[in-house]
Symmetry: C2
């Protein structure tokens, strides 16, 4: 194997596949990156066996030569060293050559590294995915759907299925749902599925977080292929594989109240900042719980009280309060997570009493919803 | 006590005094910030009993009203909560009022905090410093002198005196020296001392690091007052006290070689980057040691070899190599620290053999010097 390559393109690709490379693993070869020089370009692969990422660097892009293949071949190099080395090389072009069986030379200017490589044949094969049917989402919409749901997955392994996000596609609509059983995040969007196929799978939250870091914030289409135990996201020159979680995701539709007794409309940022301040004194004693109450003339109050430290009262002028008076307590953290996930300047919060879950939605937008279970303090 | 104050000025002052507030302490009141509202403005104090910082916010600056004193008085508030609260308040102006003995109200817009304060009388008094004689340095020069020496202090408490920087003033020259016994950093500058006073003190490295973060990068003068066991740095509206370390600082003058057998002149950044790359493979096995050797035609080589991982060879074209051939090994970390501390595009390294300390200086600049002890490997 021997090729020269533009360093910046190599660094970008290595950064992408590094997202899958584990720092510790029981399979030593997975701490490496597989490098394959083919006739059309160079392919890099990283994997922790749950997530696998393949990045392709073509010989040419936009008329510029990026890779010059002198001899095809393959090698696995320690990811940690390889990524640090190429980032710090002195010149724009890097030459990589395997000689003497596995010894790999990396040359750039007057800098020469010799790394002990590992036989590429020993690297695990990526999942084989039959592309029987797929659907397509623009990259920026995919990122938004991940961002608005994935934070709500469970961080506890007591119910492993809740550490993933439930993706359901039916009637050309994709619904993403995450819940840790104290709160729930839901986002839906129109998608074009082939053959009007239906899906119901659970994708690990960690996989979606890594995917979101890699895909660019453009409206380029991402193809999504779902099989029985794998999902594959295909972007330009990038393949992202993730295993799916096994088991049945709970039916969350009954959790979401269909009617409400108190509705308020507030400015999202004002409300977020007030909750943030009210939580400052609540972090210590009381598990970050704040109290919320409706006052008169559309004013709502958020407060917390930790006797050893002090108390805080925040008043917010809402745009509308409709329905019954209300006093309710909830986690400030869950509320802030939900408010940050929503888009739009104004939100509507719909309560059905102090003991029932309540729902936060952007005003005039039915595609997304956040639900929070209250805490019993009153 | 009652006053209203511009939030941005208050935040800035709180950030400054927070540098002295300990997160843990055996003296609970020191986790607080003392706030004193006087007729001329507001004074904040933070202290961990080694370092004390006092920041004054005057009633007016540049013709703008910053503080409006409604009633003088004093209180101590929990630093952690107070600093977070004021940073997040919604409006530009903040009102702070002590009522009901120690209950302190912080008001901003529709936000109202009540904090339990502590009696200001209980806060320890700052050191009393007789300003018998002082000297003066521009703030930016002081920062440079700290930056170029403090990194070389010892992090080990086996010889506590080495955790400080030795400051000596004599004949209107200030010399700052730090060493951890493996390397040494020295910086000198002209200063105007009153009465041609001489000083020889050791200032804790931690104090200098914190001081450096607080003082602005301007050429405003800083007055320095040194007493038997304290040093006081006085900037505009800011007092910074530090205790001095007790004990005699070792005489380091004999350590610095007066002659050399091999001298090289290299571009600072090129050399730094080459060392950085050579150290990439040296971090694991061999304590970050790289080898350095002179080749022919003014080329020098930096290399390292870790058999399990690989090896690296870096060639650097020097501007001049004079004297004997040389092979020597040293810590890449110490060399990088030294190179980062020096100013100037080119440096001169003067060796006196593979077993002797060597000296790095900026070309044509006698005010600063870095010394490193080699490692025996050849």
């Amino acid at each position: 194997m021997k090729f020269s390559i533009q360093r910046d393109d190599l660094v970008q690709s290595v950064n992408d596949v590094m997202k899958a490379v584990p720092s510790r693993t029981t399979i030593p070869i997975l701490t490496g990156i597989k490098i394959v020089a083919g006739t059309d370009g160079v392919t890099l692969t990283g994997s922790d066996s749950d997530i696998s990422i393949e990045s392709f660097i073509p010989k040419e892009a936009n008329g510029d030569e990026i890779v010059e293949i002198k001899q095809t071949g393959a090698i696995v190099l320690q990811a940690k060293f390889f990524s640090e080395i190429i980032r710090k090389l002195p010149t724009d072009t890097v030459e990589i050559e395997v000689h003497n069986h596995l010894q790999t030379v990396i040359r750039s200017g007057k800098s020469e590294f010799n790394l002990n490589g590992i036989e590429a044949e020993e690297y695990p094969h990526l999942p084989q995915i039959e592309e029987e049917s797929k659907f397509r989402i623009p990259a920026d919409l995919l990122k938004a759907m991940i961002r608005q749901t994935v934070f709500a997955v469970s961080v506890s392994e007591t119910r492993p299925i809740l550490t993933g996000v439930n993706w359901r596609a039916e009637n050309n609509e994709l619904i993403c749902i995450a819940t840790d059983s104290h709160r729930l995040a839901l986002r839906k969007a129109r998608v074009e599925t082939e053959n009007n196929e239906t899906y119901n799978v659970v994708i690990p939250g960690k996989s979606l977080n890594e995917l979101s870091k890699i895909i660019a914030d453009t409206n380029e289409p991402i193809d999504i292929v779902i099989t029985e135990n794998q999902v594959l996201f295909k972007a330009k020159n990038l393949l992202f594989f993730s295993r799916l979680l096994e088991g049945n995701y709970p039916d969350t539709s009954r959790l979401i109240p269909q009617e409400s007794k108190t509705d308020i409309v507030v400015h999202t940022k004002d409300f977020l900042h007030a909750i943030d301040r009210a939580s400052l004194l609540a972090k210590e004693g009381r598990n970050n719980v704040v109290k919320f109450s409706t006052l008169t003339d559309g004013v709502v109050e958020v407060s917390s009280n930790t006797p050893e430290i002090g108390n805080v009262v925040e008043e917010i002028q809402s745009q509308a309060v409709e329905g019954e008076e209300l006093k309710i307590s909830f986690s400030a953290k869950y509320m802030m997570d939900a408010l940050k996930a929503l888009e739009g300047t104004d939100i509507k919060v719909s309560f059905t009493g102090a003991m029932r879950p309540f729902v936060i939605r952007p005003l005039h937008d039915e595609s997304t919803l956040q639900l929070i279970l209250p805490v019993r303090t009153y």
